[in-house]
């Protein structure tokens, strides 16, 4: 069996599962946020009763992150709904905006907080829950109804996905990042190339990636339609997890002879920086072939491209230089925000490097303009802006305006483009 099949077998009490089986899997962790939490809670109460209790208080994490810095009244009401529920149920893992416990973007915070452990099942009311497969968990996005069901029962009916294996070997050149790798893959297989499948990433280039960079890869598995992305845990994973939680876990691994539906091989040393042109994540083009695209704005943030290492990459490019267009930075979490002050390159903090480069005042952590959001959202597009963004989706209207155009790129390419005002291969600056 593959790692995905093994986790689902263990968590459903079966010896063996095969792709296509419908099984009742136990939920190891349920994640929700301010946009889908209130609806999930509504369903939980409607279906299980006003006095119902959640299946396990230790297995629910609520991380508000989407609409935090906005005057929108309903957005605030929704966070209040979460607060009331947390109180009513006595939930220990709630990271309340406006308090010191607030974190920011849920998919960056969840592993930071030690809530992601190898071999577990993680269900979240957000499609990018697939991020957490980077630590060897089975993690997938679900809707409010399924989440309400889990809240009451601790289980979910899951179809076992068939696995596509991506073997990435070779040494990653200094101008490439995990974001380039996943954009290459999505560009090759298409936005529905992995529909209903597990995407398993392996090979020496994956082994060499940090945990954060592995998260970037698994994060965008859903952009190819996958149910989950997954990377076998290794010593790096264990060190990362052990530094954050004392809870026990049992990792699982694919058998060497596990059957997969297809295998794709890449030599990463031969790849070049890419972008995904508007309006689909599979609309791949080499960054150097898009030199003629003039841009208005650069956005660095989100669960894909707003982690500390993403800002380190951007800072390496921007150090000692000036940006030519409006450049918006949104650290994903408070921890990343702190990292901007604490992390130095050549004796200068990341924050100082960015400020000297002339970026806009750095926003507080949240999803911000990654998904447009209420009209007063930081960085949201309102007109015909052309944006280079380290986020994950470039659908029409995704960042706010239906008329704006979003090019998805790595932090290196985004930073290089900020310096020149047009799409730029990082090797050219």
């Amino acid at each position: 069996m593959t790692i995905t099949e093994k986790i689902l077998a263990r968590e459903s009490g079966a010896k063996l599962v095969s792709p296509g089986d419908n099984i009742w899997a136990k939920c190891g962790m349920l994640l929700t946020h301010d946009v889908c939490g209130p609806g999930t809670i509504g369903i939980f109460h409607r279906e299980f009763g006003k006095d119902a209790k959640v299946f396990d208080r230790e297995k629910i994490v609520i991380l508000p992150d989407h609409y935090i810095y906005t005057a929108d009244e309903k957005a605030h009401r929704n966070v209040d709904t979460l607060r009331a529920f947390v109180k009513e149920q006595g939930l220990p893992y709630f990271y309340d905006p406006g308090t010191a416990s607030y974190c920011g973007v849920c998919h960056v915070a969840l592993p930071e907080l030690g809530h992601v452990r190898p071999g577990e099942t993680i269900f979240g009311t957000d499609s990018h829950t697939c991020t957490h497969g980077a630590l060897g968990a089975f993690a997938t996005g679900i809707g409010n109804t399924d989440a309400g069901f889990i809240m009451g029962t601790g289980k979910l009916l899951v179809k076992v996905p068939t696995t596509l294996r991506f073997v990435l070997d070779g040494e990653l050149p200094s101008y490439l990042s995990a974001k380039d790798l996943i954009l290459h893959i999505i560009g090759d297989i298409g936005v529905d190339g992995a529909t209903y499948c597990a995407m398993e990433f392996t090979g020496s280039a994956i082994d060499a990636l940090s945990i954060e960079e592995r998260c970037t890869i698994c994060n965008m598995a859903v952009e190819a339609g996958a149910k989950n992305g997954i990377i076998a845990p290794d010593q790096k994973t264990f060190d990362y997890v052990r530094a954050r939680t004392a809870k026990p876990f049992e990792p699982l691994y694919s058998d060497p002879d596990a059957k997969v539906a297809a295998e794709y091989r890449y030599d990463v040393s031969k790849l070049e920086p890419v972008v995904a042109k508007p309006h689909l994540p599979d609309n791949k083009a080499l960054a150097r072939d898009c030199r003629g695209v003039k841009i208005d704005q650069v956005y660095i943030g989100s669960c894909t491209g707003g982690k500390l290492e993403d800002f380190v990459m951007a800072a390496k490019i921007m150090k000692g230089r000036k940006v030519a267009v409006r450049t918006l930075l949104v650290p994903a979490t408070r921890q990343v925000e702190q990292g901007l002050a604490d992390t130095q390159i050549g004796g200068q903090s990341l924050r100082a490097i960015f400020e000297a480069a002339g970026v806009e005042p750095i926003a507080p952590p949240s999803c911000a303009a990654c998904l447009g959001g209420p009209v007063d959202t930081f960085g949201r597009t309102h007109g015909h802006e052309v944006v280079v963004s380290t986020t994950n989706r470039n659908f029409i209207g995704r960042m706010g305006s239906k008329d704006s155009q979003v090019y998805l790129a790595s932090p290196y390419t985004a930073a290089a483009s900020a310096l020149t005002g047009h799409i730029t291969d990082p090797r050219d600056v």
Partner: protein
């Protein structure tokens, strides 16, 4: 509640890769679907993310849609896990989506909520219908018929999720099989 299995009315025709931001733009995600008034509002914003070249979907005066059937191409509902997407269609009064293929979460959410039937066509139908054409979807027979000339197009059998769809959603199904108490 058993669902109607014969759906008749004008169709609304879309293309490939209809994503959840087109189905319900993020600025409306502050609405909570379990609050009846906000459920109705979500319906009035169904497909509000489409470019202005498309006719308004929820164009009835009361915020519902005159189109009970939505036709799409490949990868319908890609993107976010927002259940607001099938809910917006269902709240607007759409009964079925007929597409060549679906993104996984949209399909699952449609089945789990029982808001719309996510049906798969055997062939691409985007070119066979224009918005406003009258059609009839017959779920037991797995067909969609173009009423103007009676041409019948095959739908794929619903498959493993048929019992969940027949029950009317995830909770109804779980009660039926005794997973949760009635």
């Amino acid at each position: 509640m058993p669902k109607e299995t014969l759906i008749r009315g004008p169709v609304y025709v879309l293309e490939d890769n209809i994503d959840t931001d087109l189905l319900i733009p993020a600025c409306y995600l502050n609405l909570v679907p379990t609050i009846p008034e906000e459920y109705r509002k979500l319906g009035s914003y169904a497909l509000a993310g489409l470019p202005e070249t498309f006719p308004k979907f929820a164009s009835n005066a009361d915020g519902t849609t005159p189109y009970p059937i939505v036709i799409g191409g490949r990868n319908f509902g890609c993107g976010s896990s927002r259940e607001h997407a099938p809910i917006a269609l269902g709240a607007a009064g759409a009964k079925a989506v007929v597409a060549q293929s679906y993104a996984r979460i949209f399909f699952r959410n449609s089945v789990a909520t029982g808001e719309v039937f996510p049906l798969e066509s055997e062939t691409r139908l985007c070119g066979e219908f224009k918005t406003g054409d009258l059609a009839e979807v017959d779920i037991p027979k797995n067909t969609i018929t173009r009423l103007a000339d009676g041409k019948v197009f095959a739908l794929k059998p619903v498959g493993a999720v048929a019992p969940v769809i027949a029950a009317g959603g995830m909770f109804a199904y779980a009660r039926e099989i005794g997973m949760i108490k009635r």
